[in-house]
Each structure stands twice: as structure tokens, then as C-alpha cells.
């Protein structure tokens, strides 16, 4: 082997010695950065329903189980669908926020009482106040599965064409309402008529 070749070999070795580990490190850092960025909250399932038509639903009313209520009754209008239950602690947390929001907006908040006892639900609303325009009951989770609900509370925003615009997983807060719901509503509706 001539000295020239040996020198090139040595040159290549030191070149590799620095470049390859740096390249590998950069690759790994990129992969990890993307991974971290895309999982801000482990366990949160992002809804594939966003931007799609809301599932058709019809459920008995809490006030009168013989009458049913559903997407038919809400056609052509904005509505907020809030899935809750008296067994759900976080629903108690968000209740004050819902009451405040209901006072300031003209958009009806439809309550879906999920997997609950009707009498308990009625006394909960009597005690804590009722932010809902209408409450329907989902005893066996039919609507919940159809809407991809996996924990209460969850709150959806549906536009007049029946398209789901946003889904809040976890308690509603005034902050979330301002940022994610009111900002998507036409100004008149967001502020309400009161």
C-alpha cells in the first residue's frame, strides 16, 4: 500500500469519526423532537371527527324519557354538546364554567347525561344549577361510542352544517371557551344576546 493511499485512509477515518456520530446524533435528536412534539399529552386521543359531519343521534330527554331529542332538532344551528355524568368528578369542576358560559352565549349547550341515573342527574342539576338548553340521556353509551367519547367531560362544537369543529377533552374552563369555542363562533353568537 502506498503512503498516499494510507494517508487518504487515515483522513477518511478521522472524517468519519466526527461526521458520522454527529449525523447520527442529529438524526436521533430530530426523531425524538418530533416524537415529543407530537405527544403533548399521553393518553389523549385526538378526535378524527374534527372537520367531519357529526354522527346522527337521537336520545330520550332527561326531563321526559318518552320524548326523544337529537341531531334532527338541531339542524341548521350552532350547538355545543357536553358529555357529563354525576359520577364524574371533573364534571363537577367544570359545572361553574358551564353556568357562566351559558349566561354569556346564545349558543345552546346540549347536555348528554352519560351512563347515569336519571333521578341523580335531575337532583344534580337542581342543586348546582342547569346550564343546559336540553339534556338527553345516554344510558348505554350509544352516543358516546358514536362520537368517540372515552371519558367525561368531553365537549364538542358543531356548526350549522352539522360539522364538528372542535372537541375539548377534560373540563371546560372560561379560558378554553374563549380560545377554542368563542373564537370559532360568529361574533354575535359568541357574545350572546343577553
Amino acid at each position: 500500500m502506498s503512503s498516499n493511499e494510507a494517508q487518504t485512509a487515515r483522513g477518511r477515518l478521522s472524517f468519519n469519526r466526527f461526521l458520522i456520530p454527529i449525523a447520527v446524533f442529529m438524526l436521533l435528536a430530530t426523531v425524538l423532537a418530533v416524537g415529543v412534539k407530537h405527544s403533548p399529552d399521553v393518553g389523549v386521543i385526538h378526535s378524527p371527527l374534527i372537520g367531519k359531519p357529526a354522527p346522527v343521534w337521537s336520545l330520550p330527554l332527561l326531563a321526559d324519557a318518552r320524548r326523544s331529542f337529537g341531531s334532527q332538532n338541531l339542524r341548521g344551528q350552532w350547538y355545543v354538546l357536553n358529555v357529563w355524568g354525576t359520577w364524574c368528578y371533573a364534571c363537577r369542576d367544570e359545572h361553574q364554567s358551564l353556568l357562566a358560559i351559558a349566561q354569556h352565549t346564545a349558543v345552546p349547550i346540549i347536555g348528554i347525561d352519560w351512563r347515569d341515573d336519571d333521578a341523580q342527574a335531575r337532583s344534580w342539576l337542581a342543586q348546582l344549577g342547569d346550564p343546559y338548553a336540553t339534556v338527553a340521556t345516554d344510558h348505554d353509551g350509544r352516543l358516546a361510542i358514536d362520537w368517540g367519547v372515552y371519558g367525561a367531560p368531553e365537549t364538542f362544537l358543531v356548526n350549522p352544517s352539522g360539522v364538528v369543529l372542535f372537541k375539548q377533552i377534560g373540563p371546560m374552563t372560561p379560558d378554553v371557551w374563549q380560545k377554542e369555542f368563542a373564537s370559532r363562533l360568529p361574533p354575535g353568537l359568541a357574545r350572546g344576546h343577553s
Binding site: 477515518l13 468519519n16 378524527p48 358516546a144
Partner: protein, 161 residues
């Protein structure tokens, strides 16, 4: 065996281990969570296969078949309803994915979007092999260079391996 504990403690520990083993051995099969009999053996087989295929929406690492969460029970019932309606396995899969995203698939779909995830380990192995080969060759070249040193081609060398 366990040098830091006395004979008595050791016997207790062995007893505890035995208890755990007995409990594990007598654990009921997962199906007992929600015993279901579909009208035909064919539907029953498809039902049992399907509930192994999906993840319980609120659990990180449990199939619908293994979970006693309420939500898992509701999804199982939805699957039964759809099977009885004559829906195909693919229709049921599409329905659940369109509601809960691919998260609900216990074994994620192999798609163009996540292909890199599957191929990355293979690519890294290939890359590692190439790097290793090049390093070995380069080192072999240096050894050859050492042999040439007697010819006086190169000056005195400090680094030696």
C-alpha cells in the same frame, strides 16, 4: 440465596411468592369479564377475534377483551351490535377508527405514514454495518501503513494502535 434476610423472613418471602403463583395460575380467563354467546359459532369466533384486535380507549396497553373498563364494555357491545347487523370485520374496524383514530387498533396499521417507524431499525442496522465495515477497513489500512514504516516513507508516528 438472599444473604441479607434471616431464615424466617426468607420463609415468609417464599410463602408470599407461592401465594402469588397460585393466584396467577387460578386467574380466570379474560372472557369471564363479559361472557357473551353470539347466536352462531362463526359470529362468536369473529367477535372473540375482533375484541382482541382493539385497544380499550382509556387504557394504555389492554385489549377490549382484557379490560373491565365501562367504555371497553360499551365498545364490545357496539361490536356485537354491528356483527348482528351483518357488518363485515372491515366495516367495524373502519367505524371504530373513524371514531377513536388509529389509537384504538391494538396492532397499528402498516401504512405509508408510519412506514419509517417500521423501517428505521432495519435502516439503522444497515447504517451501523456500513460504518463498522468502513472503520474496520480504515484500521486495516493503518496497520498496513505501520508495516510500511520500516521503509522510512513516513516520519515517526506518535499514535500507535
Amino acid at each position: 440465596m438472599i444473604p441479607l434476610v434471616g431464615a424466617h423472613a426468607r420463609r415468609l418471602l417464599i410463602g408470599a411468592c407461592a401465594c402469588v403463583l397460585v393466584l396467577l395460575a387460578s386467574a380466570p380467563p379474560a372472557l369471564a369479564i363479559d361472557p357473551v354467546q353470539m347466536p352462531t359459532p362463526e359470529l362468536q369466533a369473529r367477535y372473540l377475534a375482533l375484541i382482541q384486535e382493539f385497544r380499550c380507549p382509556v387504557c394504555q396497553n389492554e385489549t377490549l377483551a382484557d379490560s373491565n373498563e365501562d367504555v371497553a364494555g360499551e365498545v364490545r357491545r357496539q361490536i356485537r351490535t354491528m356483527l348482528l347487523q351483518g357488518k363485515t370485520d372491515a366495516q367495524i374496524r373502519d367505524y371504530l377508527v373513524s371514531r377513536y383514530s388509529e389509537f384504538i387498533l391494538f396492532k397499528p396499521e402498516y401504512s405509508l405514514r408510519n412506514a419509517w417507524l417500521w423501517l428505521l431499525p432495519v435502516a439503522l442496522l444497515a447504517l451501523g454495518t456500513v460504518v463498522a465495515l468502513r472503520v474496520i477497513r480504515a484500521r486495516a489500512a493503518l496497520v498496513g501503513e505501520d508495516d510500511d514504516q520500516e521503509d522510512g516513507d513516513l516520519g515517526p508516528r506518535v499514535d500507535s494502535r
